[in-house]
Symmetry: C2
Subunit: 313 residues, 2 copies
DNA sequence: ACAATAGTGTCTCTGAGACAATATTGT
DNA sequence: ACAATATTGTCTCAGAGACACTATTGT
């Protein structure tokens, strides 16, 4: 590699540009044409019946045929699709929120909004269909051996949503399912040892991706108002507490939690109203809140039970 | 897209393609894919003379010819190169730590160690050459318009090191330079508004990547012992404090900082010795410490001056 | 001698958590 | 009536930050 080329780090290849440029670049860096696929994988989390669930699909083709995997798919390079758009699209397809596939496949996708800064997008935009689902990039996994067929660079996304619909209802996402995270027998990387190591069923390196996603989710609950993304637009304090308990996997003190949440400015705001009925086992009617405008929690809601640890094995 | 194909998210044919078999076979035909390049970009940070610096290179070719850019380059797909390996290699080349390019270009790269869990690697491994440079993935940037020539998916890495050598010294990385972060006139995303928006010189979306990297670095100093990666193997408390002050861009109270660091278990350990001389302007000889074995700081060293904020504009 | 700095001590205030008390609801 | 639950109150302790003090060094 020449010095000129080393500094020429940002791509070089076909399409666009004059034929001169193409020939020039191609002759100097054939590596740009090595076969590589770019995909997205989505760690979609929701809470059903107070239990944290992740969306998985059953693979219908080899490799890993019959095993569970994270939903995902190719980034539509030819359609100039944004990475986040691809993630939202895959999630929308898999959850059955999108029945008309053509509305997404069509070339009309064009410009795509920034997920972090929503603006009105085209009709086909999956983010619009997904509604208030939080979506953020998790990390990129591109080890050579992760797919036995070819080199695949997969950008993983993390999605949180309130009570997302069951994929089996009426759509053609027949093999998708919400699975309780506990049922996967992950070697809870958050509390116990380091790496998930051997996990049961997941295909590819999806166990690792899922573990990373869970770590991220648990961590983000501490210092961001992310938990409200798991709730309906209006929620009660016990509901919000249930989110924390489900994601962290431990019970929290109701009284202290209540006071702590209210003490963080901008986290939640009271609507003044209460629910119609009390809890199913009795009790007064809890008040209703909606998410505030804070993007960071000060002070943070730190996870309990993290005192002395790290006595290297 | 058939149901089977949608679930076949990991490498199978180029978009449309109703024929199952054709799609399957296409997964083994590289030319059937839309052209896309995978690169790495590195936000390399170090501290020189108490000031935070980032490694930049001057572009010698269009587009953005003559502008500053982050060091980076293609992932060597044909060599089965790990993403982190590519980042380490680019950094090693750019800092001049690697003079013999052939040792990296050779096909002997083969298996590459996990950066997060170092093991003995092959001779050509750049991580080995880079020594104790911390390297972690920052995020992936793949918007269609970010490179005018073609679709480029760039995986950004964040690197921290103690007093990395000057790239201009004796190597062929002639156009690389350590630049004070302040000199770039970034709209300090950490303190002021939201997005960096318009930044002066950087090519592509590298201003955004750099801003994200700085945010990450500032944040990680709070709850990880990352600051020790900026120091020599043995360091003094004032030196460690200087790291925090350089990255956070604000002065810290020496006395409180000292007591706070020592109160965090596993952060630093005393060697019992002191430096030979006191400070250049007088004072007693500070004690020497080395990094402890903690990977997370409990309690964290929270950044000061982050009280009331977020009054939406 | 003087200025600068490393390290320690002390005080105050905030916040987290344990625990208790009260009010309100479903069964 | 009884059990369950929401919400508020009280107490204690750990930790952050402001400030002061002492000891040690370079000039």
């Amino acid at each position: 590699m020449t010095s000129d080329l080393r500094h020429e780090e940002e791509g070089a290849g076909p399409r666009q540009g004059s034929g001169d440029e193409r020939a020039f670049l191609a002759s100097y860096d054939p590596r740009a044409y090595d076969p590589v696929a770019v995909t997205v994988d989505v760690v979609a989390l929701t809470i059903r019946d107070g239990v944290l669930h992740v969306l998985l699909v059953r693979r219908g083709l080899p490799p890993y045929e019959g095993m569970w995997a994270l939903p995902g798919g190719f980034v539509r390079i030819a359609d100039e699709e944004e990475l986040a758009h691809a993630a939202a699209r895959e999630l929308a397809e898999e959850t059955g929120l999108l029945t008309k596939e053509d509305s997404l496949v069509s070339g009309a996708v064009g410009r795509v909004m920034d997920v972090a800064d929503p603006v009105a997008g085209p009709v086909a935009d999956p983010q619009e269909i997904l509604g208030r689902v939080h979506l953020e990039q998790l990390g990129t996994y591109g080890s050579p051996g992760r797919d036995p067929r070819m080199r695949v660079i997969s950008v993983a996304y993390l999605a949180f949503g309130p009570e997302l619909p069951d994929p089996e209802a009426g759509s053609d996402a027949a093999d998708a399912e919400w699975v309780p995270v506990e049922a996967l027998g992950l070697a809870d990387a958050a509390r116990a040892g380091q790496r998930p190591g051997t996990t049961r069923k997941l295909a590819f390196d999806h166990a690792r991706i899922l573990a990373d996603g869970l770590d991220r989710a648990r961590s983000k609950l501490e210092y961001t108002p992310l938990a409200t993304a798991f709730c309906a637009p209006e929620f009660t304090m016990p509901e919000l507490r249930a989110v924390y308990e489900a994601v962290w996997g431990e019970e929290l003190h109701a009284g202290n939690f209540h006071r702590k949440v209210l003490s963080v400015p901008g986290f939640v705001e009271s609507t003044g109203a209460t629910t119609d009925r009390g809890g199913r086992r009795g009790g007064p009617r809890p008040r209703l809140y909606h998410a505030g405008d804070a993007r960071l929690l000060h002070p943070a809601l730190l996870r309990p039970g993290r005192e002395e640890e790290e006595t290297s094995p």
